[in-house]
Symmetry: C2
Subunit: 247 residues, 2 copies
DNA sequence: AAGTGGTCTAGACCACTGC
DNA sequence: CAGTGGTCTAGACCACTTC
């Protein structure tokens, strides 16, 4: 583990422990550098990590302040459904409703960077938390990954993990669009809610480490089953975010 | 403007222009440093900015890759409703439905860091995009900012901007919880939808530059009126994000 | 083996905050 | 005015990717 990650970890623990209470000030960078026998640059990397997690904030000239004590279980990192469920203490399961190859639509071709009409794999899954159905997932996979997806166990818990272990594929980057929609008849039946009742929709495009689009998905969560959490700031700058004026 | 912001701007323009196509590679840091007559550290700050915007990705040992060409109009930065609307080309308006002081509930006391029972200001607003109602906003302001809020024009377009201009208050940090709920009778009437139809709910706590909680809010958007957009990656590290393994 | 990004250091100057 | 964070430099070494 890198030096700055250790320092960030120490600071995070200290914040959680209450050594640096919420609303209070962090030690100066110079102070932290001496305490940890590191250069100021390394200390700045550490606090930048905490800032990215939303735990601390800063303004030029003033000491850093503590904003929160919980790492937001959120969107700074990309997690699969199974990963997220596990981290929240749930047991994830799921089953494939349908799986078939078909030519892709023009819009999908754009999102997956493939030729229009090229073959893609269309998969629908029902996913559960602690046995209770919470999510109807509709995923379109690019043709090049389709064989590996078809070899998966239909009841497989984590598609992400299985694809990593079978073909070394890493889902590295994600883009997400989140809104609310009404449940259709099929979704209502699968999720055990009334038709027209609210669902939280997450449309996603995922990309490999090399920047190659892997899948695009339309996931619909039963209302009340999940909440997305985000922390942000004005004018977010990764290396030491700065407070700006409203515009 | 800082040197690294200029370099980031140049790179962003080049990506948008198609000089560096999506899925392609960026020049090396050393190359960029020479071209811009800057040190490698400054170049790294620039590309870290683009990575935070979700435009580029990186892995140790390989060239950076281009992931997208549009800056995600999203949650890396904190925007008010009016700011967001303006950036999307809409005209925002709104009106106060009710405004009254009351003692705060225990849960609000925690979120606002005030004593339980301390007086807060409870405000409901209906907000519109191009004249069409899209959002019912229910905000609870901490007592110390209540007088400034009460002095605002009830039809005021941007509360954020007005509070900055009147008392210098900056909404610097935000925490957001997003889910879907069914419209109640009142919301349905105000937004012109049927009761029970889906609404996108955003619960928000906002904090000043100094780390002092200012307001907590429960905002409900008519389905179809807005979409939240997020870009992320595995193991987001602010200074040059790194691709990790799924876990 | 060469190229490239990830980490770290030591020092410098400036702009802003807080007293 | 002293303290502090924001920016920038020049150089170093390592781990990993690419060819």
């Amino acid at each position: 583990m890198a030096r700055y990650e250790q320092i960030a970890g120490d600071l995070r623990d200290a914040i959680v422990r209450g050594d640096y209470p919420i609303g209070g000030r962090l030690p100066s960078e110079a102070d932290l550098a001496v305490r940890h026998s590191a250069s100021r640059g390394t200390v700045r990397q550490a606090v930048a990590l905490l800032a990215a997690e939303g735990l601390v904030g800063s303004r030029q000239g003033a000491r850093r302040i503590v904003l929160g004590s919980e790492r937001s279980q959120s969107f700074t990192e990309l997690h699969s459904f199974a990963q997220w469920a596990r981290s929240m203490g749930y047991r994830a399961s799921g089953s494939v409703l349908s799986s078939r190859r078909r030519p892709c639509a023009p819009a999908e071709a754009v999102r997956l960077s493939v030729e229009p009409g090229e073959e893609v794999l269309d998969v629908r899954r029902l996913r559960r938390l602690d046995g209770e159905p919470v999510l109807v997932e509709h995923t379109v996979y690019a043709g090049w990954i389709a064989p590996a997806v078809e070899r998966l166990d239909p009841e497989c818990e984590s598609v992400t993990q299985e694809l990593y272990e079978s073909v070394g594929l890493v889902f590295a980057y994600g883009e997400h669009l989140i809104d609310a929609v009404a449940a259709g008849a099929g979704e209502a039946r699968l999720l055990g809610v009334r038709r027209g009742s609210p669902l939280l929709r997450q449309r996603r495009t995922t990309t490999s480490q090399e920047g190659r689009p892997v899948e695009c998905s339309d996931d619909r969560y039963r209302a009340g089953s999940v909440t997305f959490s985000i922390r942000n700031s004005t004018a977010a700058n990764p290396l030491g975010r700065r407070a700006g004026e409203p515009g």
